[in-house]
């Protein structure tokens, strides 16, 4: 008979304590953080009850930083140090960013991503974004009264590898354990689909502040499958503001503007745009620093006509996604509208006309992405029992390939491939005795490399000299569940192997992240140490729990010696957890990971066998 266990007083383990996980919508205009509490997703408001955090960061001086409403209030007075819509610059160089001539910043063009000169020094978009994420992390920790075990951060589905990498780096820099990068339309589909118990094919039309996404998903019991995605990562509500701004400048015949006046008029343009959603006309008034007065009236008709090309521009990706999915517009059961910019009546009308059905608006377009992200974070944290959770199958938005002779692109993984995905292709040498090969990784749909985004370049050296065409160089691409790429290359004919892995050049290296983390904790060295220690302890504890659960379920897959070796590695890690230095804990974690490699592979095989036999029994 099994004996009942009684814990020591005060040491009783919590009955399956849920891990605190959050979903973050890091938007161009506003950002939000949400979580699932007692089974319900909810956005976490700030101390004043406000759900939205304006995505605006102001560097007040070398020490102080304002984020959100405080920064927003000062944006016209201090435009050079107040960064708005930073998402537009993520993973971008100066030449790729739109409307750069109308942005009042001192840009510094770096080798990869552009940077902005502020009173607090030169800042990269990753650092600016991490300030927004940090405020949201603190908000969540305060509200949930505990450390966040992990976060899901959303990105536009059409973000390329560089933009995704930059977002993930910003999360790490903000001290978040990024469980997953989740595509915004997919997040919206989760929130929407579960709320409405929908089945069938749906389109998500997501027009945010600076990005446009169109995803087509098949929703069926417990599965969200993205069939095709398309979009424009340089098109959003901001562009409508720009059109109004240009119209005002022309209408009022204004002379070239100072940075302050430019910011002021852009704010007024945005207000007018929002006002026109519910009114027939909007009056725009402003007193400029030059002494000029602006007083113009914009009516709905004019607003629609100056923005008509933008509305039409969104329909191009819509048609493309439908073609990729092999569907007609009338085969789509519903169109979910996401993003604040979809409030504009002309957008609603154009989408309704295209799909010949009323768009679905029953969830708040500002909050639906954060809510879906929170629901996914809750699943990833393991807080939902199997059977009540769901499966998400997403795709890469743009083809990945390498440059071949003549500056042409050879696609290795085509767009709309379900991730994680891996593919390898063989290449050969061009000249006799060639011992090196330069590999240029690109992303995009165009034939010419110069029309695609360059992600990384690296050299494969040490190829044994052979006649041209004899070497066999295998280039392998691997895209993970975040949609992030890693590439390796290997020469295999002669048995000599050279292999290299790259991180795309737009992303920051691990060393950069560490340096930035160090800088940000410069005034609190202790803090950094204790943070590293806390992280390793959490990781270690998590790994022990996961391994024990695996042993309890599948110990039968191991020989006695293997089981003993794993248990010994658990014991070592457990003994080291209370240590005051994070390094021995880290080593023990790595050792336990190595010890369970083979076990993990066998469990995966066994899981598949079970899945298949279950199906056969079920269909008998």
């Amino acid at each position: 008979m099994a004996l009942m266990q009684i814990a020591e007083p005060g040491m009783s383990p919590e009955p399956h304590q849920a891990r605190l996980a959050v979903g973050i919508d890091l938007g161009t205009t506003n950002s939000l953080v949400a979580t699932v509490r007692s089974g319900m997703p909810a956005v976490l408001p700030d101390a004043h009850g406000r759900a939205l955090l304006p995505s605006i960061v102001r560097y007040v001086d070398s020490q102080r930083i304002e984020v959100g409403y405080a920064a927003q209030a000062r944006q016209s007075d201090d435009p050079k140090n107040t960064v708005v819509s930073v998402k537009r610059f993520m993973g971008r160089g100066v030449k790729d960013a739109a409307h750069i001539e109308n942005a009042p910043y001192d840009f510094v063009d770096g080798p990869g991503m552009l940077q902005i000169r502020t009173v607090a020094g030169v800042k990269s978009p990753v650092e600016v974004s991490s300030e927004i994420l940090r405020v949201l992390r603190e908000r969540a920790e305060l509200s949930l009264q505990g450390n966040i075990s992990g976060a899901v951060i959303t990105v536009p589905a059409y973000f390329d590898d560089a933009q995704r990498q930059a977002t993930k780096d910003a999360g790490r820099l903000a001290g978040l354990n990024v469980l997953r990068l989740l595509n915004e339309p997919t997040a919206a589909a989760i929130a929407y689909g579960l709320e409405n118990a929908s089945e069938g094919t749906y389109a998500v039309y997501d027009l945010g502040g600076g990005t446009f996404d169109l995803s087509i998903l098949k929703l069926s019991k417990g599965v969200f499958e993205v069939v095709a995605t398309s979009g424009d990562s340089m098109l959003g509500g901001d562009d409508f503001d720009q059109r109004v701004f240009c119209w005002v400048v022309e209408k009022a015949k204004l002379a070239p503007l100072s940075a302050q006046d430019m910011r002021l008029l852009l704010v007024k343009a945005r207000e007018a745009k929002e006002y026109l959603t519910f009114h027939g006309e909007a009056r725009i008034t402003a007193k400029l620093s030059s002494g000029e007065f602006v007083d113009v009236v914009l009516d709905t008709e004019t607003f629609c006509s100056i923005t008509q090309t933008l509305v039409q521009k969104t329909l191009v990706p819509v048609r493309k996604a439908l073609r990729d999915a092999g569907l007609r517009a009338d085969e789509v059961k519903g169109v979910v509208m996401v993003g604040g910019a979809t409030r504009m009546p002309q957008i609603q009308r154009a989408v309704g006309e295209f799909f010949r059905r009323d768009p679905l608006n029953n969830l708040d377009p500002d909050k639906v992405v954060a809510l879906g992200a929170a629901m996914q974070a809750n699943v990833l944290a393991g807080n939902k029992p199997q059977g009540e959770d769901w499966l998400l199958l997403d795709v890469i938005p743009l083809s990945l390939g390498i440059e071949t002779m003549g500056g042409l692109t050879e696609k290795i993984i085509p767009r709309n491939t379900t991730i994680p995905a891996g593919r390898a292709q063989e290449f050969t040498t061009f000249k006799d005795g060639q011992t090196g090969m330069s590999i240029h990784v690109v992303q995009g749909e165009r034939e010419l490399v110069s029309d695609c985004r360059s992600l990384a370049r690296f050299e494969l050296k040490g190829i044994p000299p052979m006649v041209a065409g004899a070497a066999r160089i295998r280039v392998a691409f691997q895209v993970d569940a975040d949609g992030l790429l890693s590439v390796s290359a290997k020469e295999s004919t002669s048995g000599v192997e050279a292999s290299v892995s790259v991180k795309p050049s737009y992303g920051l290296g691990d060393a950069d992240i560490e340096r930035m983390l160090r800088d940000s904790f410069e005034h609190a060295r202790e803090d950094m140490h204790s943070r590293a220690l806390a992280e390793q302890r959490v990781d270690g504890q998590r790994l022990i729990e996961a391994t024990r659960a695996a042993l309890a379920a599948d110990a039968g897959l191991l020989s006695l010696e293997e089981k003993i070796a794993i248990e010994a590695a658990i014991a070592t890690l457990e003994k080291r957890l209370p240590a005051s230095d994070h390094r021995p804990i880290k080593q023990a974690i790595e050792a336990l990971n190595r010890a369970t490699d083979e076990f993990a592979a066998r469990r995966m095989d066994a899981g598949i066998k079970r899945a298949l036999s279950g199906r056969q029994i079920g269909s008998l």
Binding site: K320, G382, A421, I608, R610
Partner: protein
Amino acid sequence: MQNHFDLFGLAPAFSIEGEALERSYREIQSKVHPDRFAHAGDAERRASLQWTTRVNEAYRTLKDPVQRARHILELHGVDVAFETNTAMPPEFLMQQMELRETLEEAKDAAALDELRADLKQESDSLQKAIAEAIDVKKDYRGAAGLVRKLQFLDRLDEEIDSAYEEIE
């Protein structure tokens, strides 16, 4: 080489039941997908990534008629030789040239829609012939020629996609 049909517990055949494949794919994914292991250790996350990648690749291969046929032929030791064997019956080449001319002359979406519908019919009858050759006659060498034809049609379909984009 790996037999993708085995992975999904299906008998190797060109005519497969799409629903059975999809069901099996989803059942396996629900066991191995990285979302199931977001909080697991490195070893399990690595194994999950490798498995999911393999399952996705196998699913993609079996879903696509050209790739599925090619896979079956390879399992029987027959190389479809897309790259090296471009010899085609003259009447097929003539027909292809005509289709490409129609494509070049197509100036609007309606014309492209029509061309695509014709192509779909062509492709459907070719797929019937491939099913007959592989599943009934077990004539794998004969099937290889048909698969090359189907590949031709697929390429034309891609060109139609680019033509749509140019019109826009």
